[in-house]
């Protein structure tokens, strides 16, 4: 059996009401709100967060994959990777300490990349041994033209699925692809924003017929009738369109359609169908049949069968915890500032490619050192112990990502698009201390003793590099 063994999602903390967009830019507001990445987040960092949640839900402690060499592949599917050239997957793989023997790659360009990754992962696992694993990460931070319909629709978020041959929660039973050169959304080399085709045209000649073909093809291949399907989980550029698709195929929109989260999160592109699937899995019963369908450049559908193991996921963190921590972003200009569309920072930071490369273990994987002589824990890493003077007597020490605030401040001098900047001194659970920025927090809620988690973020763009590091953020749910 090959299938999904664990899932994780990540939604950014901020929500932008569509009314706020309409008030700022004119036009009619769609209903609800959308999830918006903080200024220090991109598809890569959100992908890291979703991956953490997925691996932790599986039971892997941070930094300790007992069978790391069993990771056969890591796919990062996104149409908004922060890199035009260079993988995001390799960065995620480094942070997660996936073994270098794994096949690690990005799947760019099409919103159904996540479904493609599942199909590729399933094939790779077919050749692997019993312990083999594949991690599929999807994340999106797409930017639309301010004031456009897409600006209201697009939300940011991420989801990750662990594919394996054991502990399977939902087995992949069948797969069906319809390829087509149909441009519904696209972004060319120099386009600052995602473009969308004429709505009536792309919906009636693209989305509806192509998705129908894939879903009907899958049903036929599996010899199933639509009434036998418990949940239809489909990519949803908009709620209305999904309902239209379900009706066209004869599905009951009230009971058979999975939650698309369009009104609370928005169209998160590649990640959307995964987020929707995670939510559906959280409510699934053993034996349930799901169709999961992705769209763009054709359509792709898979059939999942939920197993008995689904009962083990009751305590898993999922979409709900992320919805609960929502904080309103009340200003459209702040949203533009978060996305570097307005505002400019003169005070470019120093950085160095060689320095970042030398310190990858410390800065991406969060390894400090522990002195063999006096057992003192040092982060940042050092060769000579400043407690006992021992030289080159250090062993690696992986920091915990969880800790409590020892002291803090809200700083109004440091520049960031979301002032004041909260600075936190965090004593980490297993020893060592983190000193750095805090994010996703209401400054007035910060307290000495508060529990926080370290989150992978982009600190700055100094020297034309994406300088990723860690910040503290409030825990999400029972994290």
């Amino acid at each position: 059996m090959i299938g999904i063994s664990a899932f994780g999602v990540y939604l950014p903390a901020y929500r932008l009401s569509r009314n706020v967009i309409a008030q700022a830019m004119g036009g009619r507001a769609l209903s609800g709100e959308k999830a918006v990445a903080n200024y220090d987040e991109d598809a890569l960092t959100m992908g890291v967060e979703a991956s953490f949640e997925c691996l932790e839900n599986y039971g892997y402690a941070w930094g300790a994959h007992p069978d790391a060499t069993k990771f056969k592949a890591l796919f990062f599917a996104s149409s908004s990777s922060p890199y035009r050239e260079k993988q995001s997957a390799s960065v995620i793989s480094s942070v997660l300490e996936i073994h270098s023997s794994a096949l690690v790659t990005d799947l760019h360009g099409s919103l159904r990349g996540g479904l493609t990754a599942i199909e590729l992962g399933t094939q790779i696992l077919g050749d692997g041994d019993r312990k083999a694993k594949v991690l599929v990460v999807t994340a999106e931070k797409r930017t639309a033209e301010p004031g456009s319909g897409e600006d209201q629709a697009f939300g940011d978020g991420a989801a990750a699925l662990l594919l394996a041959k054991e502990d399977v929660l939902a087995s992949v039973e069948s797969h069906f692809t319809v390829g087509a050169n149909f441009p519904h959304f696209w972004r060319r080399e120099d386009d600052p924003y995602v473009r969308g085709g004429d709505t009536r045209f792309v919906e009636n000649w693209g989305f509806l017929p192509l998705m129908s073909e894939a879903i009907e093809g899958l049903l036929k291949k599996a010899s199933l009738k639509n009434g036998e399907i418990n949940k239809l989980v489909v990519y949803a550029p908009e709620t209305r369109l999904v309902k239209q698709l379900a009706r066209r195929l004869g599905f009951k929109t009230e009971t058979q359609l999975a939650n698309t989260f369009f009104d609370t999160v928005g169209d998160t592109g590649t990640a959307q169908v995964f987020i929707s699937l995670v939510d559906a899995l959280c409510q699934a019963q053993p034996g349930d049949l799901f169709i999961v369908a992705g769209y763009a450049d054709g359509a792709e559908a898979i059939l999942l069968k939920v197993t008995e193991d689904i009962r083990k996921t009751k305590e898993c963190r999922a979409v709900g915890a992320h919805l609960k921590r929502a904080r309103p972003l009340t200003s459209y200009s702040k949203y533009l500032h978060f996305r570097d569309m307005i505002g400019e920072s003169s005070y470019e930071a120093f950085s160095s490619l060689a320095l970042l490369w030398r310190e990858e273990k410390q800065n991406l994987k969060l390894y400090g050192v522990k002195c063999r002589k006096c057992r003192a824990i040092h982060f940042p890493r050092r060769r000579v112990c400043d407690k006992c003077g021992a030289k080159d007597e250090m062993e690696d020490f992986k920091l915990s990502r969880r800790g409590r605030i020892y002291t803090y401040t809200n700083d109004y001098v440091y520049l960031n698009p979301d002032p004041p900047e909260t600075l936190a001194v965090v004593d980490l659970d297993k020893g060592g201390r983190f000193f750095g920025q805090m994010t996703d927090v209401n400054p007035q809620d910060v307290r000495i003793g508060m529990e926080v988690k370290l989150s992978f973020r982009k600190l700055h763009d100094g020297q034309g590099l994406s300088n990723y590091f860690w910040k503290a953020r409030p825990s999400i749910g029972r994290e």
């Binding site: 005070y347 470019e348 930071a349 120093f350 950085s351 160095s352 320095l355 970042l356 310190e359 800065n363 824990i377 040092h378 982060f379 940042p380 050092r382 400043d386 407690k387 020892y406 002291t407 803090y408 401040t409 809200n410 700083d411 109004y412 001098v413 440091y414 520049l415 004041p420 900047e421 600075l423 001194v425 004593d427 020893g431 060592g432 201390r433 983190f434 000193f435 750095g436 920025q437 400054p443 000495i448 600190l459 700055h460 100094g462 020297q463 590099l465 300088n467 590091f469």
Partner: protein
């Protein structure tokens, strides 16, 4: 080792510019003004100086080179030995220390220690944001001087139960002293209410809990004690000087409590040992301490031994450190009101201590001050210097 400098070194001249937003003055203008005043005070000519140490933390932000040359250029001091000293906020006192060591070595008889900092050519936020643009690209990124000391203040509040009003009293005291000082950057009285109502810099510190961002320079002429009487009778003795340099990564050290600064304690221990001081709180008559923020002055009281751990706040509450108190601190206004051009501050403190010991401090004169202390603290409590100065008779 200890006692090498004891009673060997004398300061025979001091100079100090007005601190402030000296937009009409260049780095060189500041250096000339302080050096010339020090020379006139010592009744010597610039050309009499054999060697110079110049303290300037960031000369490059004022368009100067990061070498001894800007001073040689400014003072026409070419082809003599000039050394640049840069040790963050301890720069000024470390400059004095190096000059004193050179004289003590016997290599030179008459040397100049000068601190110069031209802050305001680089804009008001240049220093606050230095850690954003400079240094390690990731580690500790986001720290500013205010945010570090504000974190200390939150922890101090948490441990000892004091609040912003106590901190405000430090600012009120130092502004009161500064208002009597024609060379201070900020010469106005303020109230506790003013401090509490001022704009945040980093919670719980407001702009009035914070030092001013100033241009300025200060200088001292140093010679051997046996030569000092040839210049003046009221020369001042360097009785002890200590420098302690730790790591700026102390902020990551789980043992660091954010309530005291080990470098201050160590630098004080060194200076007190040389000066033969057993009890600083009983023996020191006046002190200039590093009050970059109000909380820092209170922590300094404890680290310098003026108060026990956790009791520093009592000195300000009980009026011990006001001008008329038992141990007046920052009689010239301190960093808070006098201003803080980084490399100059340590020598500015020396200037005030010398004037107080010579009985030339004007309206701020403390009666019968015989032993004075200067203290500077740099980075996130990462390094510190302490000097003890005394009357010659």
């Amino acid at each position: 080792m200890a006692g090498l400098l004891k009673e060997q070194i004398a300061i025979i001249g001091t100079g100090c510019t007005k601190f402030g937003e000296n937009f009409t003055q260049s780095w060189a203008d500041l250096a000339i003004e302080a050096a010339v005043e020090a020379c006139e005070d010592a009744k010597i000519e610039l050309r009499d100086i054999e060697a110079a140490w110049v303290g300037s933390f960031r000369p490059w932000i004022a368009g100067e080179r990061n070498t001894g040359s800007p001073l040689a250029e400014a003072l026409g001091f070419v082809y003599k030995p000039v050394t640049l000293v840069s040790n963050i906020c301890a720069t000024g006192l470390d400059t004095l220390r190096n000059a004193c060591l050179a004289v003590a070595s016997g290599m030179y008889d008459l040397v100049l220690a000068i601190g110069v900092e031209k802050m305001r050519d680089a804009g008001p936020r240049s220093l606050s944001l230095a850690n954003r643009t400079e240094g390690h690209p990731l580690i500790g990124k986001g720290r500013t001087a205010p945010s570090f000391f504000a974190s200390c203040a939150h922890r101090y509040f948490h441990e000892y139960g004091i609040g912003r009003e106590t901190l405000a009293k430090v600012a009120v005291k130092n502004h009161h002293n500064g208002a009597m000082n024609p060379k201070a950057h900020l010469q106005r009285e303020i109230t506790i209410e003013d401090v509490l109502k001022a704009a945040w810099v980093a919670e719980p510190l407001s702009i009035l809990d914070s030092t001013a961002n100033s241009d300025g320079a200060a200088a001292a002429i140093v010679t051997r004690v046996d030569l000092a009487r040839n210049f003046r009778s009221d020369y001042i003795l360097l009785k002890g000087i200590g420098l302690s340099v730790g790591t700026e990564r102390n902020i990551f050290d789980p043992d660091f409590d954010f309530l005291c600064f080990k470098p201050t304690q160590e630098a004080a221990r060194m200076a007190y040992l040389q000066a033969g001081i057993k009890s600083a709180r009983l023996e020191i008559d006046i002190a200039e301490v590093h009050d970059c923020f109000t909380i820092t002055e209170i922590i300094n009281y404890e680290d310098l031994g003026f108060a026990d751990r956790g009791k520093g706040w009592r000195l300000i509450e009980e009026g011990v450190t006001i001008l008329e108190g038992k141990l007046p601190v920052n009689t010239d206004g301190g960093l808070k009101a006098f201003g803080h051009p980084l490399g100059a501050s340590g020598l500015r403190m020396v200037y005030e201590v010398v004037k107080q010991l010579q009985g030339k401090a004007g309206l701020r004169q403390v009666k019968n001050a015989r032993l004075g202390l200067a203290h500077t603290l740099g980075g996130p409590g990462a390094l510190a210097a302490v000097a003890v100065l005394g009357r010659s008779e």
